[in-house]
Subunit: 328 residues, 2 copies
Amino acid sequence: MNNSHIRLNRATHEWVIYAPSRRQRPQEFPIASELPSSDAERARCPFCHYHNESILLELMDASGQGWQTRVVPNKYPALSPDVKPLRSLSGIYLELPGYGHHEVVIESPHHDQTLATMPLEAVSTVVETYRQRYLTLMAIPQNLFIIIFRNHGQTAGASLRHPHSQIITTPIVPRHYRWQEDEAQRYFDDWGRCAYCDMLEFELCDRQRLIADNDEFIAFVPYAAEVPCEVMILPKVHSADFGTITPHQVVQFASILKQVLLKLYQKLNNPAYNFAIMTAARYKANEPQLHWSCQIRPRLGTPAGFEMGSGISINPSLPEADAEFLNS
Amino acid sequence: MNNSHIRLNRATHEWVIYAPSRRQRPQEFPIASELPSSDAERARCPFCHYHNESILLELMDASGQGWQTRVVPNKYPALSPDVKPLRSLSGIYLELPGYGHHEVVIESPHHDQTLATMPLEAVSTVVETYRQRYLTLMAIPQNLFIIIFRNHGQTAGASLRHPHSQIITTPIVPRHYRWQEDEAQRYFDDWGRCAYCDMLEFELCDRQRLIADNDEFIAFVPYAAEVPCEVMILPKVHSADFGTITPHQVVQFASILKQVLLKLYQKLNNPAYNFAIMTAARYKANEPQLHWSCQIRPRLGTPAGFEMGSGISINPSLPEADAEFLNS
């Protein structure tokens, strides 16, 4: 396993190149430590001092004395619910108005908290907030697709430190997603089973890439991880649809998410990362070949021209070594 | 056109969101100016002082007095030609040894040159170098796929300043590419024509997104560009295969590439960028629905969790405005 080799992601059918000769140990990646927040930064933080009237949802903290999470419209939205998603031609090209929702989940009233170090009850409230907004937004028929995601750290695209995640809905389903649906369908038609269910059973037995495991969820470094220390969380009971998450699963998901983020925080010195909850597009929520997931990717390297042109990732770090490192 | 809208890339069928409310003018993106090179940097540059025996190709400069380009093996290769690309199963997963070529094209003996500012003859020699290595590498049957690419600037993944590009061949064809082939096939079956030929004719007429145009090539900001100031170069005469490039086309391609890179250099203050030459995978070189291209992407923003999860880009800048800016 010391030589360069190429692995196939069974779910997406994307190839990934493993290049140990280019390898840095995960802890050797240059990680830009962020300075502690200043009084001035907190004084101008729009989430510390939210004055806009429109709070879409507010959940209370465990004490019941104050708020824990707030959902507000993104001040610089990529999309707006105020237009109609009607297609038109522009010359030979197809376009439509930018219909959609773009919301911010403020995860805590405290500027310097982060999910990795917040109490479990607080993380559970964040996940419960995702669940409620998911159900509200997917009740709107124009929303065909939804992504719940988090950018942590400047190099991961976060412009504000105050802990927050985002939700975007679109009136279109990305081709990228349809491709993954096609691959999942083909696997199901070949093997009669969900590819993600097969992966989670294999990873639970094999244990080489396992990061965490509880009643309802498993976290592991995917066999064909695209970046060092990538982690995937899957629900153990098959479901295509994040919206089916039960109250018990909300707590269990919060617990495993916190566990994974804490390992990254401790082992990689609070790295920049992105996570995204990927769930079935509208009309696909009951299909047996799709499985919702949460993908977590630390931002340790820089994809460049090869990745741009080919779509193949070059990962200098072996998933098994990453798992050992995160579990050490 | 001032509102957010969503555009479909006709060739790949990927959607892109245009979000002018998040817009920065291209010149307002924070671009990390690189400091001039130091004596110490030049003294330790492995391309200024190349001692390895194996030079795979060397082309002379216009004066015929010294070398202009050298092709050498990458010192930290992602892949190696010394193994056999034989598939095997690892549990439920598929893998193969990391067979492939990974070469560096040293574009000039001069450390501080760059393609944008090199004389046209020198850029032509670089393109001629690409052509010769392409033909040599694609004569090896195990190489199913080839990418010629360039990373410029640290944020684009370049670790050395000395002007260079890279060539990688793989024994696998990325799913990403097969998807683009599928879309091109579908377009051809629908319309009876190559999608790229249709795009280039439309862009030549429409002129809103045109950047440059000569006997043999066109450069334009794609209608569904994924990033600000993205540029695509297409040969005007249909060909799926970069290897068919004629001596006249070599000079014309060098000329339009230099023109585009010089516009980026001047208008965006020498930004980091990646380019990749995309050409048909083995066995597809004669197909009428595929068209080779060169994709150039300045690194002005940071893709984040939404892009990672959805595969949809959010571009704050309109392609028509980018073209106007680059042409101003």
